[in-house]
């Protein structure tokens, strides 16, 4: 789909300004070449993560998780795992049916979305080590805050 869009856009831009468009595409190809090693590294980490942190493992570890330990475990797994949304949320649905708390689910899905150990090679390449580390730590803290508020809302946690 995105290729059709890119092709259509390129065709239109090409008619407006040939040179500019060719220059843009050249920059694009240069970027693809330059970024392939870091993306390759990320794919390797993802392949390992998918193998070692499988759906079954998550079901087993979070299956009866609750309380602070459950949240910590969920946050850790969420940070290491790489699971696309269309797999992660059905999985979260199964966990809910098994009686896992919303607090734990929130910690798991939020870290899954925001904290990326497997995307580290790409993030580091674009933002440098320091910013990458700071962003991931802040995201981890944010995930804990979100999970606490979710817990309060669903009446699983009390002040």
């Amino acid at each position: 789909m995105i290729y059709y869009f890119t092709a259509a856009l390129t065709a239109v831009l090409f008619m407006i300004d040939r040179e500019k468009t060719i220059k843009g595409l050249k920059i694009g190809f240069k970027k693809i070449r330059k970024n392939s090693p870091v993306f390759l590294n990320m794919i390797i980490l993802i392949a390992l993560s998918l193998y070692f942190v499988s759906d079954e493992l998550i079901l087993r570890f979070l299956g009866d998780g609750s309380g602070a330990i459950g949240v910590a475990l969920a946050g850790t797994l969420g940070s290491i795992a790489f699971i696309p949304g269309f797999v992660a949320f059905p999985l979260a649905g199964i966990l809910l049916e098994k009686g896992v708390s919303y607090t734990v689910i929130a910690a798991f899905t939020t870290t899954l979305m925001m904290v990326g150990i497997v995307t580290y090679p790409v993030e580091k390449d674009f933002f440098g080590i320091k910013i990458t580390v700071i962003r991931n730590i802040i995201s981890l803290i944010m995930a804990i805050i979100v999970s606490i508020i979710i817990g309060l809302f669903y009446g699983e946690l009390f002040i």
Binding site: I32, P37, M113, D125
Partner: protein, 174 residues
């Protein structure tokens, strides 16, 4: 074209280990390779196109336009623009990083690109729809209401406290 082998060290080691694993007929090698192959194909489906679009963006979009709407003097509306851009971002964070650095090079302010990355992580529409249908609409609503302000606040703090030197590292890898 000279290929810098150093950049491929992990890939070389990985290939050797997978090769050895296949010779020894280990399940783990087969499993990891299957994951690698299938995700590699997934990435081919859109990542190259994203980089071509970024290339076109760099040539076609005026720096003044980005500076005016997403730059350091931009107002509240800037967060709205990046939220729209973030929620329609394809793939995941690995697409948001190159897009964010391209925006930064065009004059978007640090707080805006950090907000973009944060919201691209948590607000992508297809993902949100999955979440709402499997975990619940109210769960998604609270998560958005809590995490979007947190992303914005932390992005402003990051802009304040991260040194110019580290910000200068943000490269568009061109």
């Amino acid at each position: 074209m000279k290929i810098n082998l150093k950049k491929y060290w992990l890939f070389i080691i990985f290939s050797i280990l997978i090769g050895v694993g296949f010779i020894l007929d280990l399940n783990i090698a087969r499993g990891v390779f299957a994951n690698f192959y299938s995700f590699f194909l997934t990435m081919l489906k859109f990542v190259p196109a994203v980089f071509l679009l970024i290339g076109l963006f760099e040539v076609w979009i005026d720096k003044d336009l980005i500076e005016k709407h997403l730059g350091k003097d931009s107002g509240f509306l800037a967060y709205f623009w990046v939220l729209i851009l973030a929620s329609t971002t394809v793939g995941g964070l690995y697409v948001a990083f190159p897009v964010a650095s391209a925006l930064y090079k065009k004059g978007a302010s640090p707080r805006i690109i950090f907000s973009y990355i944060g919201t691209a992580a948590i607000c992508r529409i297809p993902m949100t729809l999955f979440e709402a249908s499997y975990v619940g609409v109210s769960f998604t609503a609270i998560r958005w209401l809590v995490s979007i302000p947190l992303v914005v606040i932390s992005s402003i703090l990051m802009e304040k406290f991260i040194s110019e030197k580290d910000l200068a590292n943000i490269s568009d890898a061109a």
